[in-house]
Symmetry: C2
Subunit: 380 residues, 2 copies
């Protein structure tokens, strides 16, 4: 059987060791390092599939927890799967629902069998387990499924984290056994272990022995300082197999995308670009821009003078400020488009820098222009 998901390593950056590669899926291939726009409820907020293709998205993420609860995975199965339901014919990755159970739900109780919790909207009693997470994701038909794991909060004690890592490993094995469509869908394992090097090593050993087609580094971007994230990546990614893609979950700030790529990460996702867009906050080549500010009322320049996206070619800061202040949803379409384009374009620059063996130099130039090197720089 050919695995559903395969990774092709093209080359490594000579300055940093970052990987240029291609991930092949049943719904096409995409170059890595790649950013995946998030379509939580079977839609990347405000965007059409055609617009995502304009910005060259090859894969998007959708959330198992949300689709399970609404409209229900049975409806999406009947529709012919998530791709057909939402009119997206490129790759889709679904998470396991675990993160939402741990971050959104009320009154959760973790047992060996799975997690009991209450619906965050209507309070009803629910139960999610490795088997259930596989059943839902098999119904959704995503190209890449994620194993059901526990994502402990930061910080957690070594004792708690060790027990959690061991349970996550047992759950990973149950996920593999419950997965019914390995020929159509690739299942990734999730490395946990918090900031503890020994536990990350244990988690990698447990999971790689099960031979998943890809591995995520989980439990980061959960409130820890950025230097902790980078340190964990520094000792974790070298342990992972070279011939499988590595996915850093929940990361999407420009600096972390570059620093993660430098540490051998291939895939990223985050709601950041669309979430801040809804409040009128933009990522630009010169740093953060809050378009609602009064100083932009008569500013007829584009959001980013160095950007060639649809929004920056056609609309001014003054117009977009007006739309956002007037609560017109077209304003959020425009800011969402720009922010997603900005990150997709940033990843293309990262890949080009790897091709040219200059990702270290690119990092310096980008951080300087974006303002990350300024004292007290306001970042994300």
């Amino acid at each position: 059987m050919t695995p559903a998901i395969t990774y092709e390593l093209i080359k490594k950056d000579k300055q940093t060791g970052a990987r240029l590669g291609i991930v092949h899926t049943p719904h096409g291939s995409f170059e890595t390092p790649a950013f995946m726009p998030v379509g939580t409820q079977a839609t990347v907020k405000t965007m059409s599939p055609e617009e995502l293709k304009e910005m060259k998205a090859g894969i998007i993420l959708s959330n198992t927890y949300h689709l399970w609860l609404r409209p229900g995975h049975d409806i999406i199965r009947e529709a012919g799967g998530l791709h057909k339901f939402m009119n997206w014919d490129r790759a889709i990755l679904t998470d396991s629902g675990g993160f939402q159970v741990f971050s959104l739900s009320d009154m959760r109780k973790i047992e060996e069998e799975g997690v009991h919790f209450r619906h965050h909207l209507d309070g009803s009693k629910l139960f999610l387990s490795p088997e259930k997470a596989m059943e839902i994701q098999n119904a959704l038909g995503s190209d890449i499924m994620m194993a059901f794991d526990e994502c402990p909060p930061y910080p957690a004690s070594h004792e708690y984290m060790k027990a959690s890592v061991e349970r996550t490993s047992r759950w990973a094995e149950r996920c593999l056994e419950a997965h019914t469509r390995p020929e159509d869908q690739g299942l990734f394992g999730i490395v946990q272990g918090g900031e503890y090097e020994d536990l990350r090593r244990q988690s990698v050993q447990d999971l790689t022995s099960l031979d998943f087609p890809g591995y995520a580094v989980g439990g980061l971007s959960v409130g820890e300082p950025k230097d902790v994230m980078n340190r964990v990546l520094d000792f974790t990614t070298p342990l992972l197999p070279e011939n499988k893609p590595r996915y850093l979950m929940g990361v999407g700030s420009p600096d972390a995308l570059i620093d993660g790529s430098i540490r051998g990460i291939d895939m990223f996702d985050c709601v950041l670009p669309t979430r801040i867009a809804r409040n009128g906050t933009l990522m630009t080549s010169e740093g953060r821009l809050v378009v609602k500010n009064a100083k932009f009322a008569r500013d007829f320049r584009p959001l980013d003078e160095n950007c060639d996206c649809y929004v920056c070619q056609n609309y001014s800061r003054a117009y977009i400020r007006h739309l956002i202040k007037a609560e017109e949803s077209f304003g959020i379409r425009l800011t969402s488009y720009h922010n997603l384009y900005f990150l997709m374009n940033l990843m293309e620059q990262v890949r080009q820098s790897i091709r040219e063996d200059r990702l270290g130099d690119f990092r310096e130039e980008f951080f300087e222009q974006y303002g990350y090197n300024k004292p007290n720089a306001k970042n994300f």
Copy 2:
């Protein structure tokens, strides 16, 4: 001087007398009878200009009252006018602001000079007059401007209406005098008079003596029964000059678009298609469809099986129902697109029927299929 707006009569329907024509503007020409999508705040809610062009919109409407108050007409003038501000290079019609002053504002006081009122959002004191309405619309740079009129509520006494019509005529003359850009922008007069034939006749005589490049029939679609609207049109449009376009303000239900065309109307506008779209209500070839209803949860057919729009080619009722229930704005994009397309396509069918001298037959067929002939039909 060539007038900014001219009307070319192509032919009349032999069954009904409806007019097929072309309106020429400084920003291109459009065929009539035509429906104008409404972009109140310099955006047709949720839609991009490119999408409006996909559905062959040749002209849109925007609201002077709203743009005056936010972002301010001075900002739009500085931007190079409304076309440039909102990235729309086809025709724009702006209303005078009068209707909103009468329908939205608080504590209004009508004097010969103009109307004193309070801002509907912040309560500040404002004053709108014929001269101010022209100043604002000249700053916006719309292709078609509307005279500042009084739009009395329905019903109004003959005595009140007569005084109002006479004031509207005096205001129309002041508008013509205050209009500073007649070479770029055409100013339409607005015929008032409620349901009174003698007052409609008086209003037409007053306004046609001033020789506007087009005339609106105002004061309809303000709560009166549809047979009153049709009766008023029956005796009003024959009084209007043949060589000028006629615009029926605020009308956009499918039946009224057909019945208005039959009575010699050339232009229509209404927020109806986008307003009901936000609530998940659709216009289809088989009548009204409320996509939030539970029966559509597993209905994988398009909104309208006879529609060839982008939405009906790519998305199901089940998906759109999910998006609307989940309060995802992409759902409202899709329902807004479909409803606008439905009306634009209906007007193309009306024009084609005039070409073929069969608009009377088309009316019968459409009303039958849409369900208007059913007893207790639920319409708009």
